[in-house]
């Protein structure tokens, strides 16, 4: 069974601080997605990373795919209250269905 472990499970920080969320597995994935979900809504795709070692930036968010394609990280610079939400990583393993991590709940206080 493929598993994606996310850490930390919960993060509460002050506005302006930096943070990193991790997504790790012992399995190799052909691609990995990051989603953000607000309470009562469906997850919204932030980014898809495909190549080992790939780094993608989305404004203050930086996503990295591990060289071995088993792990990924999400780094947020100067967090803002609008970044608050549940962050989910999901891995696609060469034609199988997406495997989701348990999520990281981020709370940014102003």
């Amino acid at each position: 069974t493929q598993l994606l472990e996310q850490s930390p499970q919960f993060l509460s920080i002050q506005e302006g601080e930096n943070l990193t969320v991790y997504c790790n597995s012992s399995s190799v994935f052909s691609s990995l997605q990051w989603y953000r979900q607000e309470p009562g809504e469906g997850p919204v795709l932030l980014v898809t990373v495909v190549t080992g070692g790939e780094v993608k930036k989305l404004k203050r968010l930086t996503f990295q795919f591990g060289d071995a394609r088993k792990d990924s990280s999400l780094h947020i610079t100067a967090a803002q209250p609008g970044d608050t939400g549940l962050y989910l990583c999901a891995g696609d393993s060469y034609g199988n269905k997406l495997v989701f991590g348990a999520g990281t709940i981020l709370r940014v206080k102003s």
Partner: protein
């Protein structure tokens, strides 16, 4: 552009009653469709997926069933709800001929079984 709809948004049902949740997708043909359940705002558990009309794959044994009567319609059902069926149900779609890569989610249905 593609859009995905789910209804109802919220549902409160007594134990033992039937259930029918509907999901429809617009702007694409022959999408892959998925039903997930999410407990307490955490990770997603895949319940069912479908690659075409009448084709349903079940991921976990449970009290629920799914049907796809039309290309862009996916229905989640139960004959008799259990307390443990409470949760947030999400429908998603992905481009056809792929059981992978990016999935796009609907707004969800919150189900409370009392």
């Amino acid at each position: 552009s593609q859009t995905i709809h789910q209804w109802p948004a919220t549902l409160v049902q007594p134990v033992g009653s039937p259930l029918s949740l509907e999901c429809t997708v617009e702007g694409t043909s022959n999408p892959n469709l998925y039903w997930y359940r999410q407990a307490a705002g955490r990770g997603l558990q895949l319940l069912f997926y479908s690659v075409g009309i009448g084709q349903i794959s079940s991921e976990v044994p449970q009290n629920l069933s799914a049907s796809r009567p039309q290309d862009r319609q996916f229905i989640l059902s139960s004959k008799k709800l259990l307390l443990s069926d409470s949760g947030f149900y999400l429908c998603a779609w992905s481009p056809p001929r792929k059981l992978q890569e990016t999935q796009y989610f609907g707004p969800g249905t919150r189900l409370l079984v009392l």
